[in-house]
Point group: D2
Chain length 231, copies 4
């Protein structure tokens, strides 16, 4: 039926979707969700901290319709007075420099085709402070600023770059089951209006929406996904 053909998710049928670090952070539920809607999912597993990794990825995969930049970094707990040089460098090495390089590598083909999307799995950490997370929040804030600037820059070429400002979403890196059993977690989750973690399926729905060809009028934006924790 035409109704089906027009549904946003259907528009992803056959689209080449690269998901970075596909076995960590939000990778597994995203691979599943994009496969379910018929996308041609290319999970990537390489370490993106190497300075040629982004170029290599794009060179190998060639045509990329949608690039999901799924980068996580251990949230080091350190006060601003205690943090080491390495502790504040690492989130940039793992989450910010790879972002620059992935954008630089993949955007030319998207601009040339006048079509393409980058979805950055960012964080709500820069939007509302929490304890001992300044290095992490700073790198995550850099990501959101990059998305705003670059999303603005490439929108005239019909390429969309957006971020999800997420927190309190189920994933092994930040919310393993053992952490969910702690008093600290219970105290934190009580501050989330939704009163629970978001699920991988719910998160994937945001990505499917942003990836859809029905979503070409949104670029350079930060979509909150955090149970109402920020606003």
């Amino acid at each position: 039926m035409s109704a089906q053909a027009n549904s946003p998710s259907q528009s992803l049928d056959g689209k080449r979707v690269v998901i970075t670090q596909a076995n960590s952070f939000m990778g597994p539920p995203l691979v599943k969700a994009f496969n379910q809607v018929g996308a041609d999912v290319i999970p990537d597993y390489r370490d993106l901290t190497h300075d040629k990794a982004a170029d290599n990825l794009v060179c190998e995969v060639k045509n990329i319709d949608i690039l999901i930049i799924n980068l996580a970094s251990q949230r080091i707990r350190a006060q601003a007075t205690q943090i080491t040089d390495q502790q504040f460098n690492t989130p940039f090495e793992e989450m910010v420099y790879p972002l620059f390089r992935l954008g630089r590598s993949v955007l030319p083909q998207m601009i040339e085709r006048q079509s393409g999307k980058i979805i950055v799995l960012g964080s709500a950490a820069p939007l509302r402070p929490f304890a001992d997370a300044s290095a992490y929040a700073t790198a995550r804030g850099a990501q959101l600023s990059w998305v705003k600037a670059v999303g603005n820059e490439v929108a005239p070429a019909n390429v969309q770059v957006n971020a999800i400002a997420q927190i309190f979403v189920e994933n092994q890196e930040y919310f393993p089951l053992e952490y969910q059993a702690t008093e600290e977690f219970k105290h934190r989750i009580a501050e989330v209006p939704a009163g629970r973690l978001g699920t991988g399926e719910e998160h994937a729905a945001v990505c499917l929406f942003l990836a859809s060809s029905h979503c070409n009028f949104i670029s350079g934006q930060v979509i909150p996904f955090n149970g109402g924790w920020t606003n």
Copy 2:
């Protein structure tokens, strides 16, 4: 297939969706889009400025799963020094007080069912100023503040209240074809990174996303839909 059953739009099948002022502003494309995904669309046409109109609507329709608050008001052009009492009152009478009343009338049943969504078609006008629009921007800003407060308040009951901060979207009220032919319009659209108006279909895709049962982890949020004009 299970993939189909899981797609976000499918989750709207049979859902009772009320769209206010269904023949104006974003009403027509929304009625079409929600019908296409199988929702039970109840278009409403009443004047919502009357103080019993919201109660009457909810009393007549009874069960409402999703309420789309589609309210527009003529964007009066007046400098802050020239505006009349009526000119600044009118946007509140037409867009803000109906919002309070619609929320008050429909939220109790949603809270009781621990399920339901309100989507407010707001504006990006309060996010970036433009000339001679202070009254309009003020009322639209009030709408966004209401959404943030109430979306936070009802999220624990699994009810989601969100807004779309839209501008530069095709509709007869703000962008009639004659206006699109003016130099003023051409000057304004040149400031939109996407370089064009958003379509009714693209706008409907945002509403379908927010209306989906896969979107229960977002509440009290303002989703930008403006071709990158704000960020």
Copy 3:
């Protein structure tokens, strides 16, 4: 000495400063602080909800260099589902419509002189939700939107309109001593990074800064004053 002559506060010497509702909310410490720096303070006590009150004020006072719009409204505690028409109307009648009218009355003389300032004592309530305050937050949000729009509109005439987004500041209306003794207050103040209420003197320092002729490059802005509660 020239150093003294150049100090920001000195620039207020002899300036005609009107403070509305001067015996309530932030009025008393502001009257004192502006008197101390040599301003010609005109405290005003009239009820500004009457539709001619703003015109009357400006007509009587004539030349106004700086208008401090000090408007408060009882923070009615009501859930969005319980609020009465009067309860959501009142904050607009008391805080939003007077703002429109005061701006309309006083801006023409400022624009003509190419000099003048309006300082709106707004609230951080629209920036971070708290329980059962949706009507109050909505009206306060409308104020901030008005400031952004009008501050932008009049900046080319060298007139500055700015707001202070304050909360947790000592005043009889919102934080009377009896309330400060409650458990609720203790719970709320524990969420303020500064761990205490701001004082009237500290608040006045923000107003003196915004009122200074050294502060002509800031317009349409919202200055946070809340002990770090928002950011």
Copy 4:
């Protein structure tokens, strides 16, 4: 007179104020302004990109009441698709890593004394995009995120960390006279509501305000200083 003694600027008398990179960016007018109000100004000229430079500065100067972090980096013009590794690294090396290190070095003494201020001269670039500035905006956005996180972290110790989100301010680095003569500049300044560059004196007034002991209730905040260009 007591009025004099109470004025915010007077509170800086004898305070030890370090201004980094004092001969560039906003350094010269700041040195002058803080000297005029009687502060004990310690202009610093060292290159802060070296990993021991911040520690050395604090070790040499010892007691620092107020640290003004005045860091600039050439705004490299490069599209996101063209930028080199060095071009995106440099703004971080020059503006972000020194920020981490300066904060780490100076905050312990401030926390111990339960008194002290850091003022970061940031940028409005992350708040509103402009062409070919993604690397610069990303590093500047990282600065603002650091300020929000750390300002929140140290506020309980009565230490305040704030930023100024400035743009269109007179300085040799970004707005040399030759650039002010270009058509590009004239086009850009036409988008600033104030219609002009801010002056060094006006900028210094913001810093004097944030540095004052009357400004202890503001921490983790970003103060806009840009002629109304953002809001």
